[in-house]
């Protein structure tokens, strides 16, 4: 009983229906050119196999404000494109929530009728109350964004209309991390290398 209570209070579940192919949604989650275009932005670098590294590199706007290069880090647990992605997830750029450790994040993508795909995000936030408040959108008034609902609403708008709610445009300077095909390590291109970290 106690175990159930624990799980239920610390897990958050979000679902959105998007008029898009499962592959398009998978790309929007894993492809850096897409991840920078909705929600908090930033360019994802995934090594899509169990144990592979995950990094989200701060968007250019945040880089130029002096944010750390790696916004989020974690590790891939399961990658089954375009259906399921399980990974660990830690907000590395915020020391307080980074100290809460890694959380577990699952994306489930399910094709439905009429070209509508169901995307479910399950975020298991045991032992991470600060991050839980943030991803629930509880810190929006402090400028921390609206969490998962905001991100998913924006993602839906982007995939269905080609334009994100935030009206973000495709960045002119690429700043993605790339995967070394030999050892699978993620090479990070940092803000300063593309001349965005200065000032």
């Amino acid at each position: 009983m106690t175990t159930t209570m624990e799980t239920t209070v610390t897990t958050q579940v979000y679902r959105v229906y998007i008029k898009a192919r499962p592959e398009a949604i998978w790309n929007a989650i894993t492809d850096p050119a897409w991840t920078d275009r909705y929600g908090y932005g930033g360019r994802a670098a995934y090594d899509l196999r169990p144990g592979g590294a995950y990094r989200l590199l701060a968007s250019e706007a945040r880089c130029s404000m002096g944010a750390p290069d790696v916004a989020v880090d974690g590790e891939v647990i399961e990658a089954d494109p375009p259906r399921k992605l399980v990974q660990t997830w830690r907000l590395a750029m915020d020391p307080e929530s980074a100290a809460e450790g890694f959380t577990r994040l699952t994306y489930e993508i399910e094709e439905g009728k009429g070209g509508v795909t169901k995307l479910t995000v399950i975020h298991e936030l045991e032992g991470a109350p600060k991050l839980a408040a943030l991803v629930a959108g509880g810190m929006e008034d402090e400028g921390a964004g609206g969490g998962w609902s905001w991100v998913l609403s924006d993602l839906k708008t982007l995939l269905e209309t080609g334009e994100a709610f935030q009206g973000r445009v495709e960045p002119a300077v690429p700043n993605e991390g790339s995967l070394d095909p030999i050892n699978g390590e993620v090479t990070l291109r940092i803000c300063s290398e593309v001349g965005l970290g200065e000032k």
């Binding site: 239920t8 209070v9 579940v13 609206g146």
Partner: protein, 107 residues
Amino acid sequence: MTDDDRVFKALADPTRRFLLDRLFVRDGRTLTELESELEMTRFGVMKHLRLLEDASLVVTRRSGREKLHFLNPVPIRLIHDRWIDKYTERRVSALAELKHGLEEEMA
């Protein structure tokens, strides 16, 4: 019926809003738990939960033998984002906060 229609229809009932309020306080509840807080038959509660699920305001997941109900705020966010852009956002939330603050003072 469009997705929005389903959401507004689901929200137009006090029992269903009560169920969402309970899940907002503590997420991931079973039917038995939710039922215990309402003067209503199990069948009646199930019917309301089904409408909430159809509107995607509630998402269910299995955990062992139990079926847990989670509040999904995304449909409400979609409605919010349709009329409130990031520029109006701050003013809207400032006014909502002012209302909360003043009403708490009066209580």
